[in-house]
């Protein structure tokens, strides 16, 4: 070994030359002769002084530390060298085998520790204090306790030690260093040689040792075999004795007598092994009982011999068996029986073992099992022979055995797969601590908590409620977790069927509750300390800064009331304002009174934006009241119930106010309430809203609606629908009409169905009076629908009276009937000229560019008209029937004709036409089939 590829010889030569003073002659180098006689004294010319702080600047002349000894540190990491060194040590004392073996048994990690610590212990550098990996520090303490071990070091003095000593001895000359380097080089060369020879020696020695150990082990094995044979013989004798006793006793006894040898345990866990054994044993028992003792004895001895032969042959197969340290001998009879008894128990144990635990044994077991199986097969063969079983039995046995083996293998595979899966999944077990998990859960949960869990998860909640009602389940109404009044978590849709979830849910609930309570407590604490804790958190302003701020020049009084001029100005403006306002108000008022003769304050109709704003406010109220209805307090809590009742009523009151039903009829045209029904969302709001309004108010609402019916947009725009042209306006009108029919009329339907006859009479009268042209109104879809509603209600009332289902006061009933008939007659008379015009099909003219399907659509939109006419016919007196028939004769005939003559596109249209006509004719007591053409 040489430094930087310098050859040892060269160094040697160099040194020789230097020693001989050859340097002076040969080298063309400036030579400094400071301190000699020939010194030129230039050094004295140096300017001395101002050196006072030199030490401070460049470091004092203190003792040089060894902290720079990095070479010594890095050499620690060369296990190769140290290994060879230890080997050399063994060479030094070949007679003493013990230390060598000890050294061999040490792992290399430990072996390199001593020499490294040798140099480290005596220095005070921080490196020596730091703990090192591989348990070096632990070893070091042991080393300190026995410093004499270092004497075993192959080097009398290692290069490192040289350095260590040298650095302690103060400064050294270059010569000394060179000498050291040289010796080190020589030593390393020597070491290499020595290492090689040592290696050789070591190998030889190891061979020798192996042989020795081998022989020793063989001896031990032989002894063990002897012992086992004796044991087996004893067992056999015991068995023979026991066979005369009862089976149960015998089993207990043998189990007591001897526990199975330890090697049986892992193997006997294999079900394959046990099954086979059990089978064989059953046969054996039967046969053994039958045979005489003498024969038995003979056979046993025979078996014994063969077993022994088998063992010996196995032993001689090679050193592999030594590695296993197990002698695969065949089981004795006693062993087998003992096994049989244990089988049940062990099977149970086998199953109860966790798969993870089994996984550890799998590899080992596999090897063992293979060997064992081979041995078993051989034994089974033999046993069959000596049992003298028939050929068929043997075959059956073999097949059974094979089947069992395959089964067991399958089971084994399955088990292994399962264990592998579990092992795969458990790779990341315990990566996170419980507090980590808690932390993450806290973050997740904090995102879930909301002040109003139901509203925030509204759609999921409603959906889940629908799903639940469809499934017929009656669970709690809301799937939310609530924490007092401050917030909660929505749980979303319900789970289907029992899963692992409920458990997790519960855990989450608990955790969330804990977190929320913690957060609340923290909030309170923060509330207490927030002012103090945050004061000065950003640092304090220095005293100077406020002085630097500009001086306030204007002194404005904070209270303007005290400033006379300002107050005066303000008062002046407000006064003028008021005057102006009053003037306009007065003018308006006079206009109103002049125009209407009533004392109603006329106003401009609501602007579209006002309508929308009011509607939004109403929607807010509706949502609020709906939420409130869901949050109904339990029955037993009366005070909360009253409070809840009050809140509900208050909101309903606001709703009623917002609807502006009570605003006088003449206030504006359209009436504010009708204005609210303009947008489709206004129409859609009504059914949601009327649910909360009581019957009398609904009656008022309906009266207003009837009174203002002609003001409705759907009535005004109805002519638009009599066109088949597809314009945006028409589509909009269609949409609005649909919304009106499905929403507004639906919401008043429950009111109409409970109306008394005189109310219906009054409403119809009102409608006729207010609408000026009832014929035109009847030509609109909403109008027709409303009229049909009234007429059918009257018909229902009449029927109820006729059947006596409704006990009534005859006098008042006949009075209201009279009233009704009067109004109805008026209505009929007004309507008569319009009968044909009622049909959209009469109003609509089919044009060439319209699609063919429009014809069928016409029949469909005619349907409500036929319904209305049927209702009219039911209520009409015979003279009116006459009028009806003559008016509608053409229409009826046209429909029947086109249906019968096949002037229709398809069967559907024909049927629709006939159904329409029949609807009307049935009301008159006729049928379309009676019409002859």
């Amino acid at each position: 070994m040489s430094f930087f590829d310098f050859q040892g010889e060269n160094l040697e030569d160099e040194r020789e030359r230097i020693r001989n003073g050859g340097l002076h002659e040969n080298e063309d180098v400036a030579v400094y002769t400071w301190g000699e006689d020939s010194y030129d004294g230039l050094g004295d010319a140096l300017q001395e002084g101002d050196d006072d702080f030199n030490d401070e600047t460049f470091g004092g002349p203190g003792v040089v530390g060894k902290d720079f000894d990095f070479a010594g540190q890095t050499s620690l990491l060369e296990p190769e060298i140290s290994q060879h060194k230890t080997a050399n040590r063994a060479v030094a004392s070949p007679q003493d085998l013990a230390p060598v073996r000890q050294a061999e048994q040490h792992p290399p990690v430990e072996r390199r520790a001593p020499q490294s610590l040798e140099s480290i212990w005596d220095d005070k550098s921080p490196f020596s204090v730091l703990p090192r990996e591989n348990g070096g520090s632990r070893f070091a303490e042991r080393e300190r306790g026995q410093p004499s071990i270092s004497q075993f070091s192959p080097y009398p003095e290692s290069p490192m030690l040289h350095q260590a000593h040298a650095s302690q001895g103060g400064a050294r000359t270059l010569q000394e260093i060179e000498a050291e380097m040289r010796t080190a080089a020589i030593q390393s060369r020597n070491t290499l040689q020595r290492q090689q020879s040592a290696l050789r020696l070591q190998q030889e020695e190891e061979q020798f040792l192996q042989e020795q150990a081998f022989q020793r082990r063989r001896l031990a094995a032989q002894q063990q075999r002897e012992r086992e044979r004796e044991e087996r013989e004893m067992q056999l004798q015991a068995l023979q004795r026991l066979q005369q006793q009862q089976v149960m006793q015998m089993r207990e006894h043998t189990q007591h007598q001897r526990t199975p040898p330890p090697r049986m345990l892992p193997v006997s866990q294999s079900p394959r092994f046990l099954d086979q054994r059990q089978m064989l044993l059953l046969q054996q028992e039967d046969q053994l009982r039958l045979q005489q003792e003498l024969q038995e004895q003979l056979r046993m001895e025979d078996l014994e011999r063969q077993l022994r032969a088998q063992q010996i042959s196995q032993l001689n197969q090679g050193p592999i068996h030594f590695n296993h340290r197990r002698q695969p001998s065949g089981p004795t009879i006693a062993e087998l029986q003992a096994l049989q008894q244990q089988q049940q128990q062990q099977n149970r144990r086998h199953r109860s073992q966790s798969p993870a635990y089994q996984e550890f044994n799998v590899a080992q077991q596999n090897i063992q099992m293979q060997q064992r199986l081979l041995a078993e097969l051989a034994q089974a063969e033999y046993l069959r022979e000596f049992q003298g079983a028939t050929q068929a039995e043997q075959e059956a046995l073999r097949a059974e055995a094979m089947r069992k083996i395959v089964e067991a293998e399958k089971m084994e595979d399955k088990r292994r797969n399962k264990a592998a899966k579990i092992a795969h999944m458990s790779r990341y077990n315990d990566l996170m601590t419980q507090s980590d998990k808690d932390f993450i859960t806290r973050i997740q949960v904090s995102q879930l908590v909301t002040p109003d869990p139901y509203a925030d998860d509204f759609y999921a909640q409603v959906y889940s409620a629908i799903v639940r009602s469809r499934m017929g389940l009656q669970m709690q109404d809301e799937r939310v977790l609530k924490f007092g009044s401050s917030g909660g978590i929505s749980l979303g849709a319900p789970q289907k069927g029992p899963t692992r979830r409920p458990n997790a849910m519960q855990r989450m609930e608990q955790q969330v509750e804990r977190i929320v309570s913690n957060a609340r407590r923290r909030e309170e604490e923060k509330g207490l300390h927030s002012l103090h804790s945050l004061q000065g958190a950003l640092g304090k302003t220095s005293g100077r800064s406020y002085k630097a701020a500009p001086r306030q020049l204007l002194q404005v009084d904070e209270n303007p009331a005290t400033s006379p001029s300002h107050a005066h100005a303000h008062a002046h403006i407000s006064k003028e304002d008021a005057k102006e306002g009053a003037a306009t108000e007065a003018a308006k008022f006079s206009r109103e009174t002049l125009g209407n003769g009533g004392n109603v304050v006329r106003k401009d109709p609501l602007t579209h934006r006002q309508v929308l704003a009011i509607l939004e406010a109403l929607y807010d109220l509706v949502l609020k009241v709906e939420q409130l209805r869901r949050d109904r307090p339990p029955q037993e809590d009366e005070q909360a119930g009253q409070q809840w009742e009050r809140e509900c009523n208050e909101i309903v009151e606001q709703l009623w106010e917002g609807l502006k039903v009570m605003v006088p009829l003449e206030t504006s045209n359209p009436h504010p309430f009708v204005s609210l029904l303009f947008p489709s969302k206004g129409k859609k709001l009504l059914p949601r809203l009327t649910r909360h309004i009581d019957q009398p108010r609904m009656l008022t609402l309906m009266t207003l609606l009837v009174a203002c019916f002609t003001q409705l947009d759907v009535v005004k725009q109805a002519p638009l629908l009599d066109s088949l042209d597809d314009t945006p306006e028409q589509a909009e009108a269609e949409r609005q009409t649909q919304a009106f029919l499905t929403s507004v009329l639906q919401s008043i339907l429950p009111v109409v169905t409970k109306l008394e006859l005189h109310y219906v009479t009054a409403l119809l009268g009102l409608l006729i009076e207010r609408s000026q042209d009832i014929g035109a109104l009847a030509q609109t879809k909403p109008g027709l629908a409303l009229l049909t509603l009234f007429l059918s209600r009257v018909e229902v009332i009449k029927q109820a009276w006729g059947t006596g289902a409704d006990p009534i006061d005859r006098v008042s009933a006949s009075a209201s009937l009279e009233q009704w008939q009067a109004v109805f007659d008026q209505f009929f008379a007004l309507l008569t000229p319009h009968f044909l015009r009622l049909f959209p099909s009469s109003r609509i003219t089919l044009q060439a560019h319209h699609p063919a399907s429009a014809a069928l659509a016409i029949d469909i939109i005619d349907q409500p008209v036929w319904q209305f006419l049927a209702a009219l016919a039911l209520l009409a007196v015979p003279e009116q029937h006459q009028v009806l028939v003559t008016s509608l004769r053409d229409k009826v005939l046209e429909n029947v004709l086109s249906a019968n003559k096949g002037w229709v596109a398809d069967e559907d249209e024909r049927r629709t036409k006939l159904a329409n006509v029949n609807l009307f004719l049935h009301a008159l007591g006729l049928d379309s089939s009676q019409i002859t053409l």
């Binding site: 579209h608 934006r609 939004e616 969302k681």
Partner: protein
């Protein structure tokens, strides 16, 4: 009194919920449809939408004074999600009071 509920611009859009609105989009596109939902990014969900796309064709090498030809493409969609970053304005298409369709939006003139 009614306007007390309007505190921020989005309240005005809220008034237009379930109303037919006119939406101007970047890229010379316009929409009319019924507004169902919106959010703070002006993402909109609309139904019954008609989209109008202005395609301005400037002839190659044409003199600066020559007006570009504007083609209008239209398409209809039943339900549409509009990403908010393209929305320039949202308004009601026509006023209810006068029942007029004030839907005359001057097409962007690019010359």
């Amino acid at each position: 009194m009614e306007n007390s509920s309007i505190q921020e611009p989005f309240d005005l859009i809220r008034l237009s919920l379930s109303e037919r609105v006119f939406v101007k989009l970047r890229g010379d596109r316009e929409l009319t449809g019924i507004l169902h939902a919106y959010d703070g990014h002006m993402n909109l969900i609309m139904s019954d939408v008609e989209e109008t796309i202005m395609i301005v064709d400037v002839a190659e090498g044409a003199p600066a004074g020559q007006p570009a030809t504007v083609n209008v493409a239209k398409r209809k969609m039943e339900m549409l999600f509009v990403r908010g970053d393209g929305v320039i304005l949202v308004r009601l298409p026509y006023c209810r009071i006068c029942r007029c369709s004030c839907n005359q939006v001057s097409p962007p003139s690019r010359t």
